[in-house]
Point group: C2
Chain length 445, copies 2
């Protein structure tokens, strides 16, 4: 039992999956927080559009409202938890909570990915804090690590599996040899994918997390719009099987690297060696590499979504703030959260190896102009594999390149599409050199 | 650039591998810390037994001494970094630094594993902090996660690969089919193992980390002596090959679980499924699962040793303290760091599955009394595999058990050793049920 205890009141806006998890975690752990940290954490006020949720969660009628303004305005509330998602009225909730001098805890990756600089400035001027552990990686404690344990490092790379839905889909495609559409439909039926899966499968969700994590890691402003984005809709069972045969796994990775030319920030399907740690992250789990110049490679693994894992991150943030409030500290903001601006390196400047799968006419001499197109673009080929023809008049041919520039690869793809011999460029998948994530790290003896 | 900057002076005792890394990280990142955090971090005083190390590390002669007392006594020093290891004079360094009202940062797992309660009490009474991220898992930010991001959870399990030397040896035995002695000798030659490898290969180092991590995770006092310890000296190439054929990997795991009967804390060679995340942690890398009732499974991966990874953790702790000092906060201790005492569950009460390899006389009827001994001990066998005889008059027979109690397994091993038909009990390896690490976690819908 701590010597001193102090009551800290939170206001909770949004009682959906995560909001419900937060209400339950606070209720179930109240006595433990009191004993271990001396914090009497109370849910003073909650709001949602459906009053029946309050009863379901055991929230007293007098502590419930359908109007979020009442939560922010409640003088008892020290910390506002925003869990409604989306841009509006979430932006207004942040603005009015900050204006009322209240700290804000949020899991809103879409909003923070787009406007972390605006909201961060607002909070800094008002002398309050925004905490968003849950917005990037759900329950995985990566934000806290970047803000605390890893601060001695110049961070070099943030890279990993940041979206559970797409990892679930790719894992099942890999393990069961199924096609994308088939697995997506099943994932929707089982609740792993939304009815409208766009934000997940097109990479927007992962890109939001890349923006948040790279802003924090690199002390600069990166927004979702700065992140190159390509989803998994075009990944086929054939690509996954080809990758497997070559010793690779295909994962949707979010990658942000600090390079001499600026920040390289992107989300796309990526081939990584089958024995890489990220290749063994399966199902809806997430994992993020954080590479620092002193620490080298670290990786954080856990549930990127779900009521209780996300609530763990939200309530962790709340307790951090509550601990400061309970200690009587005047919790200042982090000093100027984004003090420098590093340029974003255009995706055209990316240099990596590529896997390119073409549908080519199945006739003698068809490959000659294809190979010539690569040569003309200055792209060096490291391997060619012609897949067995399916009996139609086209066949699949896979080209692997040596390190090439994205700009040249885009050019060659356009040139290839224009050839009579090429029906279409079926897949372009980047092969990531994960060793490069540690470029610039100190060498241990 | 931060609005306000403040100078924080550290005193560094010990300029070995880690101490040298710390001196270099502080020197190389000085300007970055100033810009990002407003902290002008200076190495005010350093001590080591070899004066030439100071010159090597660019430490000015007036900032160097061979007497650690001078570092602690220097009025400019705000934070003392103890990096000499061992119990003495490290204990005296802690005592005198704390008595002088100075915070202490340390990587000394042997000392903290044994005396974290005594030193923690001392610091609490003096109103200073001890920080020890580097003492448990080197660069992996697991201590910070337990103290901050995961505080909303009741922690259920800490389990993982906590010693790089043994993981390096087991990895090479697995990948190259080599024997223990052969790989150990090579590891010593390459600097992965010490000339006296006892602390690593017998599990003491991992047990120290289990003690530190479970003390923090479970808010109770666990010392190294509370941790059951068995090393890897008896693991043979035959065991590893058998494990592989059954779909398992053998790793030296440190495990601490909060059970209804108390804390189950142990270090021993462990069979885990080959597709478990820990099975893919290879070479000298470390990885720790931290399982909480809300967050479920999380895992932290990184370098458990080495100059710069360990320095990352030490300087991270220093910056956390420095940030508090720079903000003018009166940094109090954590409130009573070990407020409750949970009993330690005796290893005899462990219930798990077992792999038992016997050398048995290679003659008809030899197995009958062996099987009878298991039956008499009430241990149910799930599989028997007689390995091909090597032409001698004994052969290896592997028994797999259903869940059994350690007490009964020890009894049966004694009974087996007494049989004429059994030359010896060659290996007893526990098969860990990693799913049990999440027992008690909330269920997500």
């Amino acid at each position: 039992m701590s010597n001193t205890t102090r009551t800290v009141n939170v206001g909770l806006i949004g009682l959906g999956t995560v909001g419900g998890g937060v209400a339950r975690v606070i209720a179930r752990h109240h006595d433990e927080y009191l004993r271990a940290y001396g914090i009497d954490l109370r849910l003073a006020k909650a709001s949602a559009l459906e009053p029946e949720r309050a009863a379901e969660l055991g929230i007293a009628p007098e502590a419930f409202t359908t109007d979020w303004h009442e939560v922010v305005a409640d003088p008892a509330v020290d910390i506002v938890i925003e869990l409604i998602g989306g841009e509006h009225p979430a932006t207004e909730i942040f603005e009015s909570a900050i204006a009322a001098g209240k700290h804000v805890v949020s899991a809103n990756k879409a909003l923070l990915g787009r406007r972390i600089d605006y909201l961060g400035d607002l909070a800094a001027k008002a002398g309050v804090q925004i905490r968003c552990e849950a917005a990037a990686g759900g329950g995985i404690p990566i934000v806290n690590a970047l803000e605390h344990a890893l601060v001695a490092n110049g961070m070099l790379t943030i890279a990993g599996i940041l979206n559970g839905t797409t990892n679930y889909i790719l894992t099942r495609m890999t393990n069961e040899g199924l096609g994308y559409e088939e697995v997506l439909a099943d994932a929707q039926r089982l609740g792993y994918a939304e009815a409208d899966p766009t934000a997940d499968v097109d990479g927007f969700d992962a890109a939001s997390k890349v923006a948040i994590l790279s802003s924090i890691a690199f002390h600069t402003r990166v927004t979702t719009d700065d992140v190159y984005m390509q989803g998994i809709r075009n990944i086929s069972a054939a690509d996954i099987e080809q990758a497997r045969q070559m010793g690779y796994a295909i994962k949707l990775l979010g990658i942000a690297r600090m390079t001499p030319q600026g920040i390289d920030a992107r989300v796309h399907p990526t081939m990584i060696p089958a024995n890489h740690m990220l290749a063994s992250v399966s199902g809806a789990m997430n994992a993020v590499f954080a590479v620092g110049d002193a620490v080298g490679e670290t990786m954080f693994y856990g549930a990127g979504a779900g009521a209780f894992p996300t609530a763990s991150a939200v309530v962790g943030d709340v307790l951090e703030l509550a601990n400061g409030i309970a200690s009587g500290l005047d919790l200042g903001p982090e000093p100027e959260p984004f003090p420098r601006t590093v340029p974003i390196r255009p995706i055209d400047d990316l240099e990596t190896r590529y896997y390119i799968r073409l549908s080519v006419a199945d006739r003698a001499g068809a490959l000659a102009p294809v190979v010539a197109a690569f040569a003309q673009a200055g792209i060096s080929i490291s391997g060619i594999n012609q897949l067995e023809s399916d009996g139609s008049n086209t066949c699949s041919v896979v080209f692997l390149t040596h390190t090439a520039c994205e700009r040249d690869v885009q050019a060659v793809c356009a040139a290839l599409e224009a050839l009579d011999e090429v029906e279409r460029v079926a897949s372009v998948i980047r092969i990531e050199d994960a060793d490069a994530w540690s470029e610039g790290a100190e060498k241990n003896d």
